[in-house]
Amino acid sequence: MKTLTNDPTSDSGTWKTITTLFRNNIREYGMLIALIAVMVFFQFQTGGILFKPVNITNLVLQNSYVITMALGMLLIIVSGWIDLSVGSVVAVVGALAGVLIVRYHIDWRVTLAICLLVGAAIGAFQGYWVAFLKIPAFIVTLAGMLIFRGLTFVLLQGESVGPFPAGFQKISSGFIPDIFNFPGFHLTTIMIGVLLSVVLILLDLRARRNQQKYGFEVTPFYLFVVKNVLITAAIMGLCYLMASYKGLPNVLVLLFVLITGYAFVTSQSIIGRRIYAMGGNEKAAKLSGVNTPRLLFYTFVNMGILAALAGIIVAARLNSSTPNAGDGMELDVIAACFIGGASASGGIGTVIGAVVGAFMIGVLNNGMSIVGLGIDWQKVVKGTVLLLAVLFDVYNKNKSA
């Protein structure tokens, strides 16, 4: 992981190395620790329900669309803008899927492709206004929020459309097939977990060796071991829980691919670097040869595609297209990014942070529902958590300055 390669002071002791590492990455670790604390809290409050395999599976399914959109929203926020329309885009794309499949009997795979294209077109439409016509994104996407919600009602004529064919439903509610057919236990899931752990360890080893080859200092070997043991334990623990229920949900596999991909692109690719530069100082980025309008345009196109994907997941999960799908979802998505450490003025934020932020909201929703807290107080708690997370950011920033 990129965050662990900070230059440690060479002559420091073990404890100093760890504290330095922690201080340099307090934002990432702080949020992760807070998430774990919240999970442990609800594990006790719910009498052990939270970590039950079926609940973990539900948690993933319930939050998959927020996480999916948080990936795109993070890029928009890092660029220095915001997208308020995503909840409505979820609805309009879901409605389109319903109309095409149920009313016009078009194959669900073709529909899937059409929906993603429409998402891209919606993103392009809004991106054009923001990037080339220089209209603030707040206004453009506020208009989009109204327009696409309205179009949803037009498409569905105010009623729910469903049900969907099994293949389409499986996108959300399906699990990966078990090739071993071991009774009562999903062995394939465990195998995937093992494979994934091995690949991650090998990749980390290779990165470490690469750094040594260039003569850079690396984190001490025992820390490297501890880190990999923890990651492996987390992966295997999750896989074990999933295996003892129905195995890995399709959505979780999709999420894993998306998160890995976006984390990689933001931290390792030219495009990612340019997005951060654009959000950090648009004029300086422009004068360094970054085509900022085009980059911003594609950031919105990307958001549109991810919102469409989320729309499909929602529709498949509900097994119907409803006019109110995704209502208010933009707020959860935006909150996830800010809880995860993104800066409202742009240039700062990580994919992993946004995912942790989304899980934070998800665990709060899930835990509070199980405990039986009313929807009214749930909102109060979520709002408070958002404020506290941002306060934590501001406090850290002032301390380091």
Binding site: I270, R274, A277, G289
Partner: protein
């Protein structure tokens, strides 16, 4: 003395690493127009900011006496309270409010929070008459010309019962007849007992209205000339402004100048908002290999605008003219194309246009040439670290780590990061816009050394600076710009500060002597 309205004694003001004012004393007599002249960076604005409370008491050393009372201003409000009003070069009016609203902004004619519009309007009319502004009090500022806006600023000062009016370059953006009106107004105020301090680069104006002239240079008072006693010529003033010791401020330079590498021909640029205003007109410039070409002129002469318009049309509209590299015409219509054609532009405003302050040094250095440290769009981080650490050592950027954020560096080191970025882009022509602005003497010397080294590698360099000694000390050849035109060209060996200053200051065209 009772006829002295303002006395500033032994004012010293330091910024991190730079002594902006060094033991400056300055006094203004009751009812006179006192001109304050000096080069850019001589300390005029700093002195006025100390006077008006922009830099509060305690942030400088020395004493200020106004009408015999010692003053310790904490902010502008304090200084305005006693009748000291400063009008800055950039006018501080709210464009979408009316004249009347602007005049009494912060000083509303109101009773328990409710504005008395009748009183506001009638007072506005009275004040407008006094400054010769014939506009309805309800006219929005945005619908008026700059000259009239200037009058609104002055009326605003009158509303505050001004005793000493400070004008910072008031005529810089005015045409001749508006300038003339403004000067007449100052003379009229003088007759009414209001003293003024006039900061101006236009020596002809200074000569016309000033009773005394104080010259600042390098943050110190050089002399005060009394215009009522002696007949002071412009040459006399210029000599006071530029004379200084120039030994050991510049590294020795051994120029090896080759063929012409870069040329722009008949370059015309118009202002991006006022499309009928020409900011560069028929500019022709050539740069040869290994040559450092200076672009001298005042702020506002159009040098930055010219440089940015060349660099991928980053400034201006309706740009016409051609650019040539090694005799071939090149396409530099976007920044991307300009960079790939080997042109780099290091901005004068490194914080706003040069750096991503919230990002690491290494991210800033590689931004303009990410392809060089990437394979198939993926950044090779070890390679990036090797490259950027190389620049850190080569330019001796002082930092705790290459991952340190740019915002935490000193001005000189920030400038080195900007230079590193453009060196890594491997340009053949470098345009350096005020590369030594706001950095200390030691760092300046290092920057000059880097420039010499680049030239010796055969690069062509365009060096923009408002400091004449620097232009003379660094360049091989000098262009002088004024009002968007090249008004003079000379080899550095034939140039002197007086000669360049004459081209800069003289209002009419000078034919090459």
């Amino acid at each position: 003395m009772s006829d002295v309205i303002l006395e500033m004694r032994s004012i010293t003001k330091t910024f991190p690493g730079v002594k902006a004012l060094d033991n400056v004393s300055f006094s203004v007599k009751q009812g006179e127009i006192h001109a304050l002249v000096g080069e850019n960076g001589a300390g005029k604005s700093t002195l006025m900011n100390v006077l008006s409370g922009v830099y509060p008491y305690g942030s400088y050393s020395g004493e200020i006496y106004f009408q015999g009372q010692e003053c310790r201003f904490q902010n502008i409000h304090d200084s305005e309270e006693v009748g000291l009003v400063i009008i800055h070069q950039e006018l501080a009016l709210v464009p979408f409010l009316s004249i009347a609203e602007n005049l009494f902004l912060g000083n509303e004619q109101a009773k328990s929070g409710v504005i008395n519009w009748n009183e506001t309007i009638s007072k506005t009319k009275e004040l407008s008459d006094r400054v010769g502004l014939h506009e309805s009090p309800n006219t929005l500022i945005t619908n008026m010309g700059v000259g009239k806006q200037q009058l609104v600023e002055i009326a605003k000062a009158l509303a505050k019962k001004v005793k000493l009016l400070i004008l910072d370059e008031p005529t810089a953006s005015l045409n001749d007849s508006d300038s003339e009106k403004l000067l007449q107004l100052l003379l009229q105020f003088k007759a009414n007992g209001i003293s003024s301090i006039l900061i101006s680069h236009k020596l002809s104006e200074v000569n016309k209205v000033a009773d005394s002239i104080t010259i600042l240079r390098d943050g110190a008072t050089i002399e005060t000339l009394d215009c009522r006693k002696d007949n002071i010529t412009e040459d006399r003033i210029i000599r006071g402004m530029v004379g200084r010791d120039m030994t050991h401020r510049f590294p020795p330079r051994d120029s090896k100048i080759g063929e012409t590498i870069f040329e722009i021909r008949d370059w015309n640029v118009y202002h991006p908002l006022h499309e009928d205003r020409k900011v560069s007109s028929n500019v022709n410039i050539t740069v040869r290999k290994g040559e450092v070409v200076g672009l001298a002129g005042l702020m506002g002469a159009g040098r930055t605008e010219l440089a940015m318009s060349i660099f991928g049309r980053a400034y201006g509209t309706r740009i016409s003219g051609t650019a040539h590299k090694n005799g071939q015409e090149i396409d530099i219509s976007t920044i991307d194309k300009a960079i790939s054609n080997g042109i780099a532009y290091a901005t004068e405003d490194r914080k706003a246009y040069g750096l991503i302050l919230i990002e690491a040094i290494k991210d800033n250095i590689t931004l303009a040439n990410l392809e060089a440290i990437s394979d198939g769009g993926i950044i090779n981080e070890p390679k990036e670290l090797t490259v950027t650490r190389g620049y850190r050592d080569k330019l001796s950027i002082k930092c705790s780590s290459i991952r340190q954020l740019a915002v935490n560096l000193s001005g000189g080191n920030q400038q080195k990061v900007v230079l590193s970025k453009w060196l890594f882009a491997n340009p053949e022509i470098l345009i350096l816009d005020e590369p030594t602005r706001g950095i200390d003497v030691g760092a300046k010397y290092e920057i000059y050394t880097i420039i010499n080294q680049l030239a010796s590698e055969g690069k062509g360099i365009i060096f923009i600076s408002s400091e004449l000694p620097e232009i003379l000390g660094v360049c091989d050849r000098i262009y002088v710009m004024r009002d968007g035109k090249i008004v003079g060209e000379m080899p550095a060996s034939e140039a002197s500060q007086e000669k360049v200053m004459k081209y800069i200051m003289t209002q009419q065209e000078v034919v090459e002597q």
